[in-house]
C-alpha cells in the first residue's frame, strides 16, 4: 500500500465520527437509489407475472399458419416453445339463435405443445378457458361448451320454448324467418350430445370472386348486413356433420390480447381435444394438407370435411428485440400480421413504443437524480470539511514533495475507501428496505395496479451492479472538487498556518469602496482615518446588520470571507428545500389522479359500487317520454334491489341531463371563454359555431346534475348556501360549477374556472319543427342580429342550419345562487371532466 493510501486510511480511522457520517451518507444515497430501481424491477416483475397469468407467455401468435411455416418454426432454434390449436370448423346458428349467440358455434382444439413444453417456466403459452362444470375434453369426440349454452335446446327442430326460463321465446317470432340451424342439441347438459354441421367459413373476394377463408376472429356478417354494406354474403363450405359428447362447460375468459377462445362478433366457441398420436394412427386417414409429420396429432382429428385452421403460439429464446421477433415470424412465412405479444414484450425489455417504459424510467431517473443531487451535496460537504481540516497536512505533504496528483488521488482514494463500505451496505439496506416495504404493502400496492398476487419482491443483479456503479460515480463526482482543492493547497500557506481570509474580487471591490467612503467621510468631518473603522460598520451594516446589529455584520462578513464553506452550507440548505419541494409537488400533482382513480374504479370515498344508467339505444333526441320513464324505472328498480342486499347503503344518486341554455356573460369567468375558444379549431370540419355570443354570453349545451336531496343539502351547506331556499319549485335554484380540472388543447391538465358569479340562467326546451325529417335540433346559437336561433343538424349529411327560435319555446329560469368547486362535489361526479368546458349546474333531485 502506498504511503498516501496509508496516510488516508489513518486519517479516516482518526476522524472516526466524520468517517462514519460519510459512510452513512454514502450508504443512504446508495440505498435510496437501490430502492428506487429494486422497486422498479419488482414492479416490472409483478406486471410481467400478471401478464403471464392473464394472457400467457406466448411472444408471437399467428393464425392461419401453413404447414410449411409450422415446420419452419419447429426447426428454428430460436423457437423455444410452440403450441398449436386447430379451428376445426364452424356450424351456423339459426337466425334467431344468432341474435343471442352470434353467427356460429366454432369448434377448436385446446392448444397443445408442438415443440418444447406448453407451460415452460410455470406459465402456459396461452390461456385456455377454465372448465366451470364437468371436465375438459379428452378425446376428439368430446366437447366443452360455453356455460351460456347449458340447458339450451338448439336447432331447427326446436318448436318449444327454450328450457331455460330466462330465454327469449324464439317461437314468438315468425318461424319462417328462423332458418335452418347447423347446431343440433336438446337441453344441452353434461353427457348430452350435440351435432354440428361444421364447415369452412368462406366469402367470395369482392374483386377476384375467389373464396376467401374466414376464421373465427372475423365478425359474422348477416346476409342482410352484407347486402347493406355491399359485400358478398358469407357461407359455409365443405360442411360435414359431426357429433360431440358434451363433457363440460367453461366460462368466458373475457376479451384480452391473444385470447383465441373468444369469437367476438363471430359467435361461440366449443373446445374439443386434439387427437393423440395413437388415435391419429387408429383413425388412419388424414387430410392431405393437414400434415407432413408436423402437427399430426391435431390434424388427425379431422377425417374429412373442413380443413382446420392452425393457430400457433410461440415463445422464443435468444431474441432480444421486436425486430428479431418480426424477422423470425417473416422467415417462417407467418403471413402478413402475426401478433406480437406487446403486453408481455414490454416487460421483457422489448417495448413497442417506449412511452410506458420511458415514463417509468423517467420517474425512476428523476427520483434517482434527486437522490443523487442530495447525495452529492452531502458527500461533497463531508469531503470539503475533511479536506479543509487537513489543509495543513496537504500543505506539508506538498512541501516535502507530494505531487498534486498524489494529493488528488489521496482524496479520491478516501472516497473509494468509504465507498467500499458504504456502497455494499447501501445496496443491502436498499434491498432489505424494499423487501420489508413490499412485505407490508405488496397487497395494497398490487391491488392499486390490479396485481392480485401483490408485487413480488424481485432483485435484478444487473440493476444492483448498475446502482453500485451509479453510486460510485456519485461518490467520485462529489469528491472530485474537494480533491482538486486538496491538490491546490499552497505549501507556503500551510506551513505558516495562515488562516488569512482570501477576498473574492467582489469583496475586494467593496473593500476599496469602503476605504474611499471612509476617507471622504473622514475628510468631511475632519476626523482622523484611525476612527474610520468604526465608521465603516456604521456605513455598511446591510440587512444583516440592521436586523441583528453588530453580530449580524460579523456573521455576514465571516460568511462572505470564508466563501467556500458558506457556499456549501447555502447549497445544503437549498438542497433540503429542493427535496421538500419536489416531494411536495409530486404529492400535489398525484392527488387529483388518485381522486380520479378512486372514482373510476368505483372505490371512491363515497361509494364502493358505482352503477351507471344511460340511455343509449338511439340518438338522444328521439328519446320518447315512455322510454324515459322505463329508463327511470329501471334505475328505481336497481335502487330497490340494491337496498335488499344486506349491508348495502345507498350513498347517493346523481342524475345527469343536458339542456340548451343561455348564461349571461356576467356570471362567467373570463378564462372560460378563452379556454373554449382555444379548444376548437374554427378551420376544422367539425367546427361548431362558437358557444359564446358576441356579447360574451354563453349559449349551447348545459350539463345539469341532480343530486339526491341529502347529498345536495350537504353540498349546499359545505359551500355556505342555505339549503332551504332550493325547495321553492316555482323558482328553481341551482349551484354552478366553478373551479374544475380540465384538459387544455395540448392535453395538459389545468385548473380552470367556469361559472364564477351568481345570476340567472335560462334553459330552453328546443322543439323539433319536423321530427320526421333528417334535420334534428342540435343546439342554440346566436343569429346574425344577436337573436337566439335553433341550430339544426342534418344527421345524414352533417350539414347544419340555423332556424328561428319559435316564440312558444318552453323556457325555464334557474337562479344560480352559489358556486362550487370540483373538489367539493361527490367523487362520483368526477365524470364531469369528460364534459369539459360545458357549464355545469347542480340541483336537488326533488325540485
Amino acid at each position: 500500500m502506498s504511503v498516501m493510501s496509508n496516510f488516508t486510511l489513518r486519517s479516516l480511522a482518526k476522524n472516526r465520527v466524520r468517517t462514519i457520517v460519510s459512510v452513512i451518507g454514502i450508504a443512504l444515497s446508495c440505498a435510496l437509489i437501490t430502492a428506487i430501481f429494486t422497486t422498479l424491477t419488482s414492479l416490472n416483475a409483478g406486471l410481467y407475472q400478471r401478464t403471464l397469468e392473464s394472457e400467457g407467455s406466448w411472444q408471437i401468435y399467428a393464425s392461419n399458419v401453413s404447414d410449411d411455416s409450422l415446420a419452419a418454426l419447429e426447426q428454428n432454434d430460436d423457437v423455444a416453445d410452440l403450441a398449436t390449436s386447430y379451428e376445426l370448423g364452424s356450424a351456423a346458428f339459426s337466425e334467431h339463435e344468432q341474435e343471442l349467440f352470434g353467427g356460429y358455434l366454432t369448434v377448436k382444439t385446446a392448444p397443445f405443445a408442438a415443440k418444447g413444453s406448453f407451460d415452460a417456466g410455470g406459465a402456459p403459452l396461452t390461456l385456455v378457458p377454465a372448465v366451470t362444470e364437468g371436465r375438459a375434453a379428452e378425446t376428439p369426440d368430446e366437447i366443452v361448451l360455453p356455460s351460456m349454452l347449458q340447458g339450451e335446446t338448439l336447432g331447427e327442430t326446436n318448436t318449444e320454448k327454450g328450457s331455460n326460463p330466462g330465454d327469449e321465446p324464439f317461437d314468438a317470432q315468425d318461424e319462417n324467418a328462423s332458418g335452418p340451424s347447423g347446431v343440433q342439441g336438446k337441453n344441452i347438459q353434461i353427457g348430452s350430445t350435440v351435432t354440428l354441421d361444421l364447415g369452412e367459413r368462406v366469402r367470395a373476394d369482392a374483386e377476384s370472386g375467389e373464396d376467401m377463408r374466414l376464421d373465427c376472429g372475423t365478425s359474422y356478417t348477416s346476409p342482410d348486413d352484407a347486402q347493406k354494406i355491399g359485400i358478398p354474403e358469407e357461407r359455409l363450405a365443405h360442411t360435414q356433420s359431426r357429433t360431440f359428447t358434451v363433457v363440460g362447460f367453461y366460462s368466458d375468459l373475457g376479451s384480452f390480447y391473444g385470447n383465441d377462445f373468444v369469437a367476438t362478433g363471430a359467435g361461440l366457441i366449443g373446445i374439443t381435444a386434439p387427437a393423440t398420436d395413437a388415435q391419429a394412427a387408429a383413425s388412419g386417414t388424414q387430410e392431405a394438407n393437414a400434415s407432413n409429420g408436423t402437427g399430426a396429432a391435431g390434424a388427425a382429428a379431422i377425417k374429412s370435411g373442413p380443413t382446420p385452421i392452425v393457430s400457433a403460439y410461440l415463445a422464443t429464446q435468444n431474441l432480444s428485440s421486436r425486430a428479431d421477433l418480426e424477422a423470425l415470424a417473416a422467415n417462417a412465412g407467418l403471413g402478413n400480421d402475426p401478433l406480437l405479444h406487446t403486453n408481455l414484450l414490454r416487460y421483457q425489455g422489448m417495448p413497442e413504443d417506449r412511452a410506458v417504459f420511458d415514463s417509468l424510467f423517467i420517474i425512476a431517473a428523476t427520483l434517482a437524480v434527486v437522490v443523487a443531487a442530495a447525495g452529492v451535496s452531502l458527500i461533497y460537504n463531508s469531503f470539503s470539511i475533511s479536506v479543509a481540516e487537513r489543509t495543513r497536512q496537504f500543505g506539508m505533504l506538498s512541501s516535502i514533495g507530494a505531487s498534486k496528483r498524489q494529493l488528488r488521488r489521496s482524496v479520491l482514494f478516501e472516497a473509494l475507501a468509504l465507498g467500499i463500505i458504504g456502497i455494499p451496505v447501501g445496496i443491502a439496506l436498499g434491498v432489505v428496505g424494499v423487501a420489508v416495504t413490499l412485505h407490508f404493502t405488496s397487497d395494497a400496492l398490487g391491488s392499486a395496479i390490479a396485481l392480485e398476487g401483490g408485487i413480488p419482491f424481485t432483485v435484478s443483479p444487473a440493476a444492483l451492479v448498475g446502482c453500485a456503479l451509479f453510486s460510485l460515480v456519485i461518490l467520485l463526482v462529489s469528491a472530485w472538487i474537494p480533491a482538486l482543492r486538496a491538490s491546490r493547497v499552497s505549501a507556503v500557506d500551510a506551513i505558516h498556518q495562515t488562516q488569512d481570509v482570501r477576498l473574492t474580487r467582489r469583496a475586494l471591490r467593496r473593500q476599496r469602496k469602503e476605504v474611499n467612503e471612509v476617507r471622504s467621510l473622514a475628510q468631511q468631518q475632519g476626523m482622523q482615518a484611525a476612527y474610520a473603522g468604526a465608521g465603516s460598520f456604521a456605513l455598511h451594516r446591510g440587512i444583516a446588520g440592521r436586523l441583528f446589529g453588530l453580530p449580524g455584520v460579523l456573521a455576514k462578513r465571516s460568511r462572505e470571507r470564508a466563501s467556500s464553506r458558506g457556499r456549501v452550507v447555502v447549497a445544503s440548505l437549498a438542497m433540503s428545500m429542493l427535496l421538500l419541494i419536489v416531494c411536495g409537488s409530486v404529492k400535489l400533482y398525484m392527488d387529483p389522479f388518485v381522486g380520479q382513480a378512486k372514482a373510476t374504479n368505483g372505490s371512491g370515498n363515497d361509494a364502493d359500487i358505482l352503477a351507471t344508467f344511460s340511455y343509449n339505444g338511439s340518438p338522444t333526441w328521439s328519446l320518447t317520454p315512455e322510454a324515459f320513464d322505463s329508463y327511470l324505472s329501471s334505475m328505481d328498480n336497481f335502487k330497490q334491489e340494491a337496498a335488499k342486499v344486506e349491508g348495502t347503503e345507498l350513498a347517493g344518486v346523481v342524475k345527469q341531463g343536458e339542456a340548451q341554455g343561455f348564461v349571461p356573460a356576467s356570471m362567467l369567468d373570463p378564462e372560460a371563454r378563452e379556454v373554449y375558444d382555444s379548444k376548437f379549431d374554427t378551420t376544422s370540419a367539425n367546427w361548431v359555431p362558437s358557444a359564446y355570443t358576441k356579447a360574451g354570453d354563453y349559449v349551447q349545451n348545459l350539463t345539469t346534475f341532480y343530486l339526491d336531496d341529502a347529498t345536495f343539502d350537504a353540498l349546499a351547506e359545505r359551500v355556505g348556501v342555505d339549503p332551504a331556499q332550493f325547495d321553492d319549485a316555482e323558482h328553481p335554484k341551482a349551484l354552478g360549477l366553478d373551479a374544475y380540472r380540465g384538459q387544455s388543447e395540448d392535453g395538459r391538465y389545468l385548473d380552470m374556472r367556469a361559472i364564477s358569479n351568481t345570476g340567472t340562467v335560462t334553459l330552453y326546451d328546443l322543439i323539433d319543427d319536423n321530427p320526421d325529417d333528417t334535420w334534428n335540433t342540435w343546439g342554440l346559437v346566436e343569429g346574425q342580429d344577436g337573436e337566439l336561433e335553433t341550430l339544426y343538424l342534418n344527421t345524414e349529411t352533417g350539414e347544419t342550419e340555423a332556424r328561428e327560435l319559435p316564440a312558444d319555446t318552453p323556457t325555464l329560469q334557474v337562479d344560480v345562487v352559489g358556486t362550487v368547486s370540483e373538489e367539493q362535489i361527490p367523487s362520483s361526479m368526477y365524470s364531469i371532466n369528460a364534459l369539459a368546458h360545458y357549464p355545469v349546474l347542480i340541483m336537488p333531485e326533488s325540485v
Binding site: V3, F7, M396, I400, G401, S403, Q406, V492, I495
Partner: protein, 227 residues
Amino acid sequence: MDILTVSHLSKIYGTGEAATCALNDVTLSIAEGEFVAIVGSSGSGKSTLLHLMGGVDRPTSGTVRLKGEDVYARSDEQLAVFRRREVGLVYQFYNLIPVLNVVENMTLPVALDGRQVNGERLQWLIKSLGLEGCEAHLPNQLSGGQQQRVAIGRALMNAPAVVLADEPTGNLDSRNSRDIMALLRSSNKQLGQTLVVITHDEDIALTADRIVAIEDGRIVRDERIRK
C-alpha cells in the same frame, strides 16, 4: 563550486493595491558543503527566500538554479519530484504528519518517490538522531526536540543536495536548540551536507560559515565568517 545559485529573484504577493514585495531582486550563490545562516527581522523576506530556494513556491521573477539546473523551469509535477529528491526542509513547527509514526514520517519523501527505503541509512539516521526506541511512536507522543529530530531525519533521508531549515530551533528550549544545531552542524561537517539555516539567534548564526542578512526583501549584508 556553487551548488545553488539565486539570481535577481523577486517575489510579490497579492495584486494591485494589496501587492506586497516580499523579495526584491536577490542574487546569491551557495557553494557545495557550505553552511549559510540567513538572518533578518520578521517579515524581511528570509522565509520567502528559503521557500523559493526549496521549490515550494514560485518566484515572480528571477531564477533559482540547483546543480546548474533551473528549478522553476519544471512543471508542478517535476517540481514535486525535485522537492522530494533534492531538498530537505526543516521547519520551526516540525510539520510532521500526525497520523504517521516516526519511521513513516522519516521515510515519507522516499515513499512519495515510490522507491525502496535504504534500511542502512534509516538505521544510521535513527541512531545518530537518538531516536532509538521511538520508531513506532506517533509525533504527538514525542517531545518537541524529538519531533524536530524526526523532521531532520526526514530532511536527510534522501541525501538531498541542500538542507533548508527555517528557524529549526525557534520552538525549542535552549538545551534542545543546542542539540539540534549540533546535529545539523555535524551533518554539514561530517557528510558535507550543504545547509541553509534561517535564524534570528545571533549565537546560532555565528556558528555558520557565512551570514546573509536580509532587510525589506533585499540582501543588506553577506559576510563569510569562516573558511
